[in-house]
Amino acid sequence: VCEVVPTFRSLLVQYDPLAISCDEIVRHADRMLARPQAADLRGRHWCLPVCYDATIAPDLEEVAARTGLSVAQVVERHSAVTYHVYMLGFLPGQAYMGDVPAELELPRRETPRARIPAGSLAIATTVTCIFPLESPCGWHIIGRSPVPLWDTASGAVPLLAPGDRVTFAPVSVREYEDLVREASLGRLKPVPVDPMEAAA
């Protein structure tokens, strides 16, 4: 077995067919499914800064128009939720988080953008993501976060893991720019929210 990629709807198992047969892997999987083991999914809680400002969030106004909300209400609704990290995928360290409030649910854009900047916060259907790298994207961009999601060169693991919880703290453009500067100097290292503090 070379790769195991869990997603919302399936588990992709890449294996060497000359080393093990598909039947054998399916038998293994069936055995594991028959006796599920409770995983430790308590996770950590992160509070990540996000700048929801139309100058760096090209779809914010369109999302407001299509949902019948004001821009302030979109920001308020999106940042009021504690999201659950379901899976990582697409780009290194990219976390699929949900669920987006029903009022903000929109299908993917009809025409994907060829390029969006790193850190873009986007929504599509019930899911929200921070895109960690410049990439093509068919989602609606409603903000940008300065937080580096994975410094692969340092040997560290990705910031977010399945089972984690995430809330977004709105920041101004000015604060965002300061945080980007801190991040570029390697000084922006989020720490999980203290569970005691969160409870208080």
Binding site: C2, E3, V4, V5, P6, T7, F8, R9, S10, L11, L12, Q14, P17, L18, C22, M87, L88, G89, F90, L91, P92, G93, Q94, Y96, P107, R108, E110, P132, L133, E134, S135, W150, T152, A153, V157, P158
Partner: protein
């Protein structure tokens, strides 16, 4: 001074690649690695390296590489290009070199590689390999993510890639006997996993049509142009994992074959998957090349992989002294029952 291979001119897209980064797709990190893993291993075999040693992958237009070491042995394998050994990096005229062989550069000499033709990539392996720290278990460059290789990026003029060996070993130069790139008539695929998103008629059309490799093809994906394939029931799928060689059909119906730098998950229906044995050959299809697909069973795909592996394992046996007589390649090929990607040049 530390022995190095210095980049006098970078070419258009020269990156360090090995056989890829395994085990990180669940975190969103693609495998990356050589587009044509067979040619990479051929180049490594020519200089006596293990198959997974990182080498330079060269696309479009090649670089000029200078020996900043007492001597360095290099080997070139893959698509064709005009290759010259220059007495120094400023010289314009040198001696012409054929591909698929090793050669020793003395200090200050330069290897100049021209435009890549007849394929997409060629590989320059150095004896002993580059002294580069692997990232997540591999020296492959993932350009979009800035991960691995040389500072996570394509090589630039002035880069000096450190070498593991101070000087080339004392031995004769080698060539590959009986190795050449062959474009199969059809790329073989296994149907699915989401063929149920297409009608039987559309699936038949996919196999009857000839596609052209589109101009935006890159290491992430090969966008094809040709007969659009219509979806029977929408194209907005909940994201799931993507296998190497997966053929997505996005909204516009034009297939995209996902390659080494592919995103790890995606939400377009996948009509078919290129078999492992044909991935290296597909990696050499240049922009504009025609490609057609043929469906095979899983058992046939596995049999093809077995043959392909035997062919790759036999690469060291195809390495013969440059000056020596032609070996009994025909017999070796017959024994290995080689197909796709290998032809007997003597035949």
């Amino acid at each position: 001074m530390r022995p190095a291979l210095r980049i006098a001119a970078p070419g258009l897209l020269t990156t360090v690649q090995d056989l890829g980064r395994a085990g990180y797709q669940h975190l969103g990190v693609p495998s990356s690695g050589a587009l044509d893993a067979v040619s990479l291993q051929a180049a490594n075999a020519l200089v006596g390296n293990p198959p997974n040693t990182g080498a330079l992958e060269i696309a479009y237009l090649g670089p000029t590489l200078v020996a900043d070491a007492d001597s360095v042995r290099v080997a070139v394998a893959g698509a064709a290009a005009v290759i010259d050994i220059l007495p120094d990096e400023f010289a314009t005229v040198g001696r012409r070199l054929s591909g698929m062989r090793s050669v020793c550069l003395r200090r200050g000499e330069a290897l100049r590689i021209g435009a890549v033709t007849g394929g997409t990539v060629l590989y320059v392996a150095v004896e002993g390999g580059f002294d580069i720290v692997p990232v997540l278990g591999s020296v492959s460059t993932y350009l979009r993510g800035g991960i691995g290789g040389w500072q996570g990026r394509a090589l630039a003029a002035g880069d000096a890639l450190p070498l593991r060996l101070e000087r080339a070993a004392e031995r004769e130069e080698m060539r590959l006997d009986g190795f050449s790139l062959k474009r199969p008539a059809r790329i073989r695929v296994v149907i699915g996993p989401q063929h149920d998103y297409f009608s039987e008629g559309e699936i038949a059309a996919f196999f009857e049509s000839e596609y052209a490799v589109g101009p935006s093809a890159d290491r992430m994906g090969m966008r094809l142009t040709g007969r659009a394939i219509r979806h029977a029931r929408g194209f907005d799928l909940t994201s799931d994992g993507i296998a190497p060689g997966s053929i997505q059909i996005p909204g516009n119906g034009q297939p995209i074959v996902l390659l080494v730098d592919r995103q790890t998950t995606g939400g377009y229906p996948k009509i078919a998957t290129v078999i492992s044995a044909d991935l290296a050959a597909l990696g050499q299809y240049p922009i504009g090349a025609k490609v057609a697909f043929e469906a095979v069973s899983v058992a046939a795909a596995q049999a093809a992989l077995r043959q392909h592996r035997a062919g790759v394992a036999a690469l060291p046996e195809m390495v013969v002294p440059l000056a020596g007589a032609r070996g009994d390649v025909g017999a070796r090929l017959g024994r290995c029952n080689l197909i796709s990607g290998f032809v007997d040049a003597a035949a």
